[in-house]
Symmetry: C2
């Protein structure tokens, strides 16, 4: 079967499930992930919890890693691309304060639970990379590129390539080191103290 | 039993195992951690692998979290306190290049495996905090304090409190984002591009 035909088939099949129903399924997947972790999550459990058939799940999403990655992506409230405040500081602050703190802490717990699974399951890593990590990095790079175009940051500033590492450090280290949950106010202060000075802003 | 007596009893008991034998036990614990993870590691398995009795293990280390934390601490080759090159850049570079890259990658895999366990097991978190995290932060703060005393960094630089978050970001994000193992050269370049400029060096 040719690529396009296969693609059309997938779209046709996908259209059988309404966006509302897909959202319900994604929520159930995230609940199960929080309850039993990635290794404990089975397509059987998702089917039972959502009163759907395993055949439907596999037809719609192909595999467990793909379903989990799409559920996580659905969970992201706003695309980074929509942020454009006119200054790098404004963009970065909006990035970290746009989702409410409870949501951010639930996300942190979820991602922490997945971190180990990612290394045991290359398919999950691949799906997360394509659906979640790459779009976030692309969004962050758009924000940074606009700052360079506005003349806020020198095009050859070596910290540009490490912005994502710095942000992950703030996100991950807060509760590991300080035993306090991450929140928007902390990340905004971290960005002001570390990332902006490193970028020469 | 009074605190001091209990403490003395523990030291007396500890002395029954030679440092060489303790090192063997710690290596076996780290091997098991890599093989089966924290949740899968049992005191029975450690006893079998090391041909010791479970009673000895409990008498010597008290609990599984304590044994694991001591094994991880034993694994750290050099104390940060021993580093004093005369410049902040020199100290930080020596910090990240002192252990060989293979060792660093094995450590990263180990810590990644523990990250989830830490959140499920408060006793493990407590033991790691006391035996591993706090001494590292204290060592890093000593390095930073000397830089302030030398006049390299302003005492009120807001990035001082976030140095550990930045470093953890470099350590953790490298293989998550770039799918490449962390190494000393990468961390040295990350320190030069981000941490030193943020500190005004």
């Amino acid at each position: 079967m040719a690529e396009t035909v296969a693609g059309a088939t997938v779209s046709a099949r996908r259209s059988r499930i309404t966006p509302e129903r897909a959202a319900e399924l994604y929520e159930a997947v995230l609940d199960l992930l929080r309850e039993v972790g990635y290794d404990g999550l089975t397509m059987d459990a998702v089917a039972t919890r959502t009163r759907s058939s395993k055949a439907t799940l596999y037809r719609q999403w192909g595999s467990k890693p793909e379903l989990v990655a799409r559920a996580l992506r659905h969970n992201k409230p706003v695309s980074l691309d929509d942020i454009d405040t006119g200054s790098l500081r404004g963009d970065l602050h909006q990035m970290v304060i746009r989702s409410d703190d409870c949501q951010m802490q639930r996300d942190a717990a979820l991602m922490r639970g997945l971190l180990h699974a990612v290394h045991e399951n290359p398919d999950l890593h691949e799906a997360l990379r394509n659906l979640l990590i790459e779009p976030e990095i692309t969004g962050l790079n758009t924000v940074l590129r606009r700052a360079v175009e506005r003349g806020e940051v020198a095009a050859d500033n070596p910290a540009l390539q490490y912005a994502v590492h710095v942000l992950i450090g703030g996100f991950a280290a807060r509760d590991l080191i300080e035993d306090r949950p991450v929140d928007g106010a902390f990340l905004a202060s971290y960005i002001d103290a570390v990332l902006l000075p490193a970028l020469g802003v």
